[in-house]
Symmetry: C2
Subunit: 198 residues, 2 copies
């Protein structure tokens, strides 16, 4: 590679996707932000915006997957890892003035219904993160299914699958139940039938 123009484009794109999503981001603004010439756009991404977005998503997916894996490797206790990962993300969000969220989430929400190839890639990104998190949690002795269930619970519409939402509902349910039995001992705990179905 003679220079790093393509990488600058992808990096700038990831940043813009974080704060503006896919349809909110113009290619001209992107090239500007990357300090890349406009002509490089279609030189590196001859198939246009969609191809460029696909490569940005792949880049972001791999980047975060590595970050997650490292988080779990660095700490023997997965609970510590989860804490560190969350507070780390909070730090990033704060430092950006609450601008930089999750690039996959933004793109999912404004393209899942309209641009099928991108929706698919978003779904794959989330799936890979779930596998990484499930593996990390799995080390602590939670069985595989429960670990995946926990890891899935933030997953969005990108997967074209209702289980993420259902699992979120179950976890909310359990959290409430836990808070109930913690703070109000006078109340008889709920029947196991509802909470135990997982």
């Amino acid at each position: 590679m003679a220079n790093d123009t393509k990488e600058r484009l992808i990096r700038a794109g990831e940043a813009l996707f974080r704060s503006q999503g896919y349809s909110g981001t113009g290619l001209k603004q992107l090239a500007d932000d990357a300090r890349a010439p406009w002509s490089s756009m279609y030189h590196f991404f001859p198939d246009g915006k969609e191809q460029m977005a696909a490569e940005i998503l792949d880049y972001a997916a791999a980047y975060y997957a590595r970050m997650l894996a490292r988080g779990f490797e660095a700490r023997p206790d997965p609970l510590d890892a989860i804490d560190a990962i969350f507070t780390g993300e909070v730090e990033i969000l704060k430092r950006s003035g609450y601008r930089d969220g999750c690039p996959i989430a933004s793109v999912t929400l404004d393209t899942a219904s309209t641009v099928e190839p991108l929706r698919k890639r978003c779904g794959e990104a989330f799936a890979s993160w779930i596998r990484t998190i499930a593996e990390g949690i799995g080390r602590s002795g939670v069985d595989e299914e429960a670990a995946t269930e926990l890891a899935t619970f933030v997953l969005s519409r990108a997967s074209k699958n209702a289980t993420p939402l259902l699992r979120t509902g179950r976890i909310v349910h359990q959290a409430i139940e836990a808070a109930l039995s913690n703070t109000k001992k006078t109340r008889p705990p709920h029947k196991r039938t509802r909470a135990a179905r997982r």
Copy 2:
């Protein structure tokens, strides 16, 4: 009111925001979907797209708040209400072919960084839902703070506040902890070996 053109516009806008977000939705497509004449656009929303979006967000916020409140009113047990609300949303998502998500979330993710008035409205919408949910949970005896904490945990970047993310982290932590102690008590760990994992 002679006719209901404005309401049709707002309803169509809410639907489009669900599936395409703010920047992904064109005003002409919106007017078309609403079967409203193009001229009505700037007749009812003289300040343009931003004003229209603001009114759509207010409409959606009120609509969902009512839905939540009714959900809690209809069922004495807030746990039942949570279950019903989640499975209801899953039903909607499924029926739309996984197209229709949360209109506030979509708009938040692609405008929170760029259109301050809309970001503010999104934040207010989430805040009102949190109050409604906290009230619903509160009836079961959970104290106010715990109820608010639980209700907040899905909140996004719209609030320009890190507590939602931090609270999510805490709840994930607790969920894992709970799963851990459940596993150890109720079943032998690792029925399937890690090598057998797909």
